[in-house]
Assembly symmetry: C2
Homo-oligomer: 336 residues x 2
Amino acid sequence: MKPYVLGIDIGGTNTVFGLVDARGVVIASASIKTQKHAKIDDYIDELYREATRLIEANDAQGKIHGIGIGAPNANYFTGTIEDGVNLPWPTPIPLAQLMSDKFGIPVAITNDANAAAIGEMTYGAARGLKDFIMITLGTGVGSGIVINGQLVYGHDGFAGELGHMIVKRNNGRLCGCGRTGCLEAYCSATGVARTAREFLEIRTESSQLRNLPVDQITSKDVYDAAMQGDKLAQEIFEYTGTILGEAFADMMVFSSPSAFILFGGLARSGELLLKPLRNAMEKSMLKCFQGKAKVLLSELKEADAAILGASALGWEAKPASAPSAPSAVPATPLAQ
Amino acid sequence: MKPYVLGIDIGGTNTVFGLVDARGVVIASASIKTQKHAKIDDYIDELYREATRLIEANDAQGKIHGIGIGAPNANYFTGTIEDGVNLPWPTPIPLAQLMSDKFGIPVAITNDANAAAIGEMTYGAARGLKDFIMITLGTGVGSGIVINGQLVYGHDGFAGELGHMIVKRNNGRLCGCGRTGCLEAYCSATGVARTAREFLEIRTESSQLRNLPVDQITSKDVYDAAMQGDKLAQEIFEYTGTILGEAFADMMVFSSPSAFILFGGLARSGELLLKPLRNAMEKSMLKCFQGKAKVLLSELKEADAAILGASALGWEAKPASAPSAPSAVPATPLAQ
């Protein structure tokens, strides 16, 4: 097996990429602006130039086993970025095909939360775990589910959208997906800010959050206030952690993971979030699962995590055929 | 491979068992009373005598590939029946070990809903499906989840308890598990009867259900009334189907199955249940999953289903080692 993989994380603003070895060391990394090119071909040309520069500077020509890409709405089975994403090019985008044509290297793609789960399993807190659920708490709530050592893609490649579990069946908050009551509307960074605005409107207690323009309050503001002892801000974290813990208990009856692994900005809130989360999870748990699931934090370095997650998928990339897709699904056009 | 398996379904009242061939034909079957023996060894002795009689009568001595058992709280990984079941013997019961010691044939065990899923995949409506969820609607609500062709057992063997998803987070009905708001408290046969009692108390419309002693109303009574045009009874099915459909939409974001397969008494209610179920499911579905999942009825013959489901597991039974358990789990003591 060749000694390196190339990991690429395509975000709405930046595309970061890096050369990674089998131990999960990011040898070198760089980035380009995702939005710079109106045509996908021009974007891929620049990515190819910059990645090649990185590869050559590190003497890695001919030593790349595969390319792994994490991107919004990226489908592992079809190799395409599907509709409904905030990227400058028309969708669907046959990204795996375009990239493997350009690089002459096998390519595998998946969405960013799935990539994070694979990264955690390969290099992070989930090493040795066969059954776990990765939850990314950022602007939204993403998830990657691993069962018996395999990432769950579902029949169509779209499984693992746990940010869109319904946690409030009645009078739930409107979610970006158009429905109401989704987990993401409560337990993302945005959700925390919404809770802050709700609490400030409904409740009468004093809070240092009242000194801020209400429309501009962020989850970071709530965190800072809570750490300074602001009771209302602490309650906002209790509310958030409780909803997340109740949701984890519901996920448990599905796949009985041995751990939930948290990643993303909100996960760095530490015990402010984790304490109510664990309490609510155990309190809500079906008896046979009580005390069984750990709640862990990601062990990937923040700066490297996106590249590492994507790169781990690069080890799975196979030339000339689908990456172990179910037989009912058309073969992914991965090879050139 | 030897040509037959022995399928055994252990219920609270009866234990039914049958000789099954590779095409899923039940060659012969019989039953004994589960409650007859106070000691598990005596029960297994009788089961052995009766099963041997069946095997000899059909010239199948030495031709049994394996024994598959479906039983309440039976754990595939450990081979034991765990605590908290309505059986006459002290738990945990090392059933796989006891049975393989007695029969000299490899044994695999799992709970009845998982056995139903394996049966459906091997012989029924799920043939050729890689990703589906089996839902059994009986006295309770059971489930067996199949992802990428494999039954989901979770890290401890207890995954797939979807009857205990929380569908009413506030003011939910008390469930047999001790928590409130579980799917099972609404969408089981018992749940339908509870809904009937609630509706009759709260609502004022006339209904032929009012002619029955309210404590004795069963889901069958509600079905009969609904089929005779009773509006309130029809609404009870709408209520039940709607809750089930909303729950299916939530299961979809987890594993994105291509089908939900219904089994059990309530599933025979047909369109009374299926119409509101499908409507609610599609209405509640995250956009990327709309129109993708089928709702199917079991294709196993009612009389044979329990035996077939258990027997299908018999093909997986392996001598002298665990049935592909994760390495973190102690090896199942299957062989003698």
